[in-house]
Symmetry: C2
């Protein structure tokens, strides 16, 4: 059985949960509370040198995978059906590029370690911290909306007729943007695809609010 | 002929320059001065909705690729020799995961748009800004060093006997760390591989200091 470290609010864990669900792969979760610092305990730091989630431990109980996008690529290569990347190299490049707007250029700017630094080291106010978070989430949403408006293969989903890694990462852009009070009027394409994906059981079941460790 | 938007200091452009050089693909660069704001001019913002470099424009003069990691994956799929990813899925996952320590979790925290926000919006001092930059670069270097120490296939390069995307992204972790005055005593494996890569013409020619727009 696959085992995965997770925290309900982690967008990186959310990505991998969706991908595993789409691939029909069962997993056993083990829970870290990132805001209480579980990730820094020596036994977890030994498993994941960045002290982040998720870490995916394969069936052998030893082999560990890290970084959500690398894990999704691995799942695609080892369990190709249903695909979460298109076949054609240009389409794959677009999907991966779109995903990285979230994975590289938005999400890493708002994770707990950054918010801790803003609070504890830079002594920002709650208002300044929220402005920071919204600023970078809006930048990513704006870029996603523009890319969708220009991409002839976008429609029901970001690319083509079924969800891909792009939709997974659109989901992990919108979800924290909702938590942190962003407005979505300027992003109709993004929100249409978000709402479409949330009708898919594999996405909905992976949502932070549905996880056993979610705060009520 | 491939055309690429670039800025000598951009680590994302540096990655793609190395990959293109390794693949033996010629390109024509067009230069943006990111610190003067060239990327926000309407004609470039229309080309790249994030207003970032690089954008790679294909031979047809129209098709554009964005996000350095997505571009490198595209080059690997369309020009497989010499490979810049290993063949085996677990090895590919390790290489991609290692690369993302730089691409997702370090580099996006120190790019010009972040430094501008720290200076202009948060009014940080130069000392606070340098501490921020070094903090995140050190976090990535430490994770890379630990992963290398645990990875049986690391040695002359991050994985195996020839450079991969992991080595490219190690290079773009070390290069800014040097610019911003980090110390490397705790990262002997990282630095050994950095120095090895810099002996390879395809890496050395791509270095920021060798670019036509580099400041003397």
């Amino acid at each position: 059985m696959l085992r995965m470290s997770t925290y309900f609010r982690s967008q990186a864990a959310f990505r991998v949960r969706i991908a595993l669900n789409l691939k029909g792969l069962a997993r056993e979760d083990f829970f870290l509370h990132l805001e209480k610092g579980d990730q820094f305990k020596p036994e977890y730091a030994a498993l994941n040198p960045q002290s982040v989630v998720p870490t995916l431990i394969l069936d052998d109980g030893k082999t560990k995978l890290f970084q959500s996008l690398a894990i999704m690529e691995y799942l695609e290569e080892t369990h190709p059906h249903p695909p979460i990347l298109p076949k054609e190299p240009l389409a794959r490049a677009w999907v991966r590029g779109f995903a990285l707007i979230n994975v590289a250029d938005s999400h890493p700017l708002i994770v707990p370690r950054i918010r801790n630094y803003l609070t504890k080291t830079l002594k920002l106010s709650e208002e300044q911290k929220l402005a920071w978070i919204q600023h970078w989430l809006y930048a990513g949403l704006k870029a996603m909306e523009t890319h969708l408006s220009e991409h002839p293969d976008s429609g029901e989903f970001c690319h083509g007729a079924a969800p891909t890694v792009a939709d997974i990462c659109l989901m992990t852009q919108v979800t924290p943007a909702r938590v942190f009070g962003c407005k979505f009027d300027a992003f109709p394409r993004v929100m249409r695809i978000h709402d479409r994906c949330m009708k898919i059981k594999e996405f909905a079941d992976a949502h932070p609010t549905k996880q056993p460790d979610a705060e009520k």
